[in-house]
């Protein structure tokens, strides 16, 4: 028997090793199947309706013909206003929680509230938005009310992503700055924030996808099923891609089969383009700064 001959136990371990690896690989492959199927079907069935006109014309004939221009621009409005509201608030809250807040019951209660906020179903946010922004604050059904509802819903994403990336900046950097006589804010502005910006952007990317795709929260608060014109300001109602998709898929008779697929394809492409831009920007930032 040679020195390195395989024993029965080795043989058993080798089989288990192979089995585990194959199983995990299989699970990983399973993961991409839905994504590939969705994209494949959307492209196959939606691509025929895509044209320059589809993007730049308003819907006509009871939304069974024409384009999606008003919905497209409406979604851009809603996402932009929602980001304007939630990013400053979310980042400021995360900076406070990570850099200033003492560890006491109030801080722990706030952290718990953030986690719970993330778990609230979107239909509940919709009703909250209706009560708070549409009725109580009197914004009416408007872009502002819809965007603020979405902002509240997506705040936890920004806060959690920002806080995690702030805490990923080594504590030694902060101590070094403090020891040089820097205030907390000088330390945050000069050292901590510049080095966590890519993590914060990740949160914003996630938030954009969420905001662009949500339907329930905007349905009661500011998105209209059909409007023949573009919004002129944040107090106007608007069409939105997600609601438009819902409407042409389920509410309107005699819609051509390909139309909903075309709308879905454009919606997904919008999100992908926004994500790709932010990811490229993030990579650029990350290459500039490292430790």
């Amino acid at each position: 028997m040679s020195l390195f001959a395989r024993t029965g136990l080795d043989e058993h371990n080798r089989r288990v090793e192979w089995l585990v690896k194959t199983l995990f690989l299989l699970m990983t492959v399973l993961l991409i199947i839905p994504v590939a199927l969705i994209m494949g079907i959307l492209i196959q069935r939606g691509a025929p309706v895509l044209s320059w006109g589809f993007l730049t014309e308003v819907p006509t004939n009871g939304m069974t013909a024409g384009g999606i221009f008003t919905a497209l621009i409406g979604t851009v409005w809603i996402v932009a206003v929602a980001l304007l509201a939630s990013v400053p608030i979310g980042v400021a809250a995360a900076v406070y929680l990570s850099e200033y807040a003492p560890d006491n019951w109030l801080t722990r209660a706030i952290n718990l509230a953030i986690i719970n906020l993330a778990g609230v179903p979107s239909i509940v946010h919709a009703l909250f938005g209706l009560g708070a922004f549409v009725v109580f604050f009197g914004f009416g059904r408007s872009i502002l009310a819809a965007s603020l509802t979405l902002a509240v819903m997506t705040l936890p994403i920004v806060i959690v992503a920002t806080r995690e990336s702030l805490q990923a900046v080594p504590h030694a950097f902060r101590e070094a700055c403090w020891n040089m006589g820097a205030t907390r804010w000088q330390t945050i502005r000069r050292v901590v924030l510049p080095n966590s910006i890519s993590g914060i952007l990740t949160g914003v990317i996630l938030e954009v996808s969420r905001t662009a795709g949500e339907t329930a929260p905007i349905m009661f608060t500011g998105a209209a099923a059909f409007l023949p014109f573009l919004p002129q300001g944040v107090l106007d109602q608007t069409m939105a891609m997600s609601l438009h998709l819902y409407v042409v898929s389920t509410q309107v008779p005699d819609v051509p089969d390909a139309l909903p697929f075309g709308v879905a394809l454009v919606l997904i492409s919008m999100v992908l383009v926004m994500n790709a831009t932010s990811i490229a920007f993030r990579i650029y930032l990350r290459n500039k700064r490292k430790w």
């Binding site: 101590e175 403090w178 205030t183 050292v191 430790w291």
Partner: protein, 254 residues
């Protein structure tokens, strides 16, 4: 030893982290233009001592400090502008901390905080501090490179340059040579010998021989207490009062 008023006077200083006593009733004086060595085994309270000098308890809710620390006769807890205090006190940590910004910005950071804006003035400070920290020749052609990507020894000299850029009157070094090769250590030690002409240095070290090479006087910390303070040469020649000190410097424990 210098025979004027102490730069730093510590009376009955205690430091606690939560329930854990880190330093228990230390009293000592540090005089201008001396290198004051602090030796002692791990967990004897050396680092806590340095942290208290810079009022770091304000950034650590868990840390409590009792007793008096007088900086040039002034009680530091009474100093309203703690940032000015920290600017007068430079600190070098055990592990080098190159901030994730350019070498130039690393050294220009503190002067900028102090309100210096003119490029020419900043250039001059950066060059002077890097020269004094024995790093200038290695980095003068790449001041825009990231400070955090230098080698360990270079980063530690960068940290010293940064501490000097504050124009400190007191320089605290906490086991600065832990992550540094012997050649660099020797270069930094030479730098320190020159620096003491102008500033006062407190050198915490776990290398007994380093204290012997550099310190004018040396204090021995053990289990949160100050065992004794003596002229360094006395400490090493065995003319000490306490048996524990003799055992430690002769390597019988610690």
């Amino acid at each position: 030893m210098v025979d004027n008023a102490p730069k730093l006077s510590v009376r009955n200083l205690s430091v606690r982290y939560g329930d854990k006593q880190a330093l228990n009733g230390i009293s000592l004086d540090v005089f201008p233009n001396e290198i004051f060595g602090i030796i002692g085994p791990a967990n004897s309270g050396k680092t806590s001592f340095l942290r208290a000098l810079n009022r770091m308890e304000e950034f650590d809710a868990n840390m409590t400090v009792e007793g008096d620390i007088l900086f040039e006769g002034q009680d530091i807890t009474a100093i309203r502008n703690v940032y000015a205090l920290r600017r007068k006190v430079g600190v070098v940590f055990p592990l080098p901390v190159g901030l994730p910004m350019s070498i130039y910005e690393n050294v220009a950071f503190a002067p900028k905080l102090a309100g210096i804006k003119k490029k020419a003035e900043l250039d001059e400070i950066v060059e002077r501090c890097l020269i004094r920290a024995a790093l200038w020749d290695e980095v003068k052609d790449r001041l825009d490179a990231l400070g955090s990507l230098l080698s360990g020894g270079q980063q530690q000299r960068l940290t010293i340059a940064r501490a000097l850029s504050q124009n400190p009157e007191l320089l605290l070094l906490d086991e600065f040579s832990i992550a540094v090769d012997p050649v660099t250590t020797m270069r930094i030690e030479d730098v320190l010998k020159e620096l003491k002409e102008e500033i006062t240095i407190v050198l915490v070290t776990n290398l007994v021989q380093q204290a012997r090479r550099l310190a004018d006087r040396t204090a021995f910390f053990l289990e949160s207490e100050l065992v004794e303070t003596a002229e360094t040469e006395e400490l090493f020649s065995g003319v000490v009062k306490d048996q524990r000190t003799r055992d430690y410097v002769e390597g019988r424990f610690g």
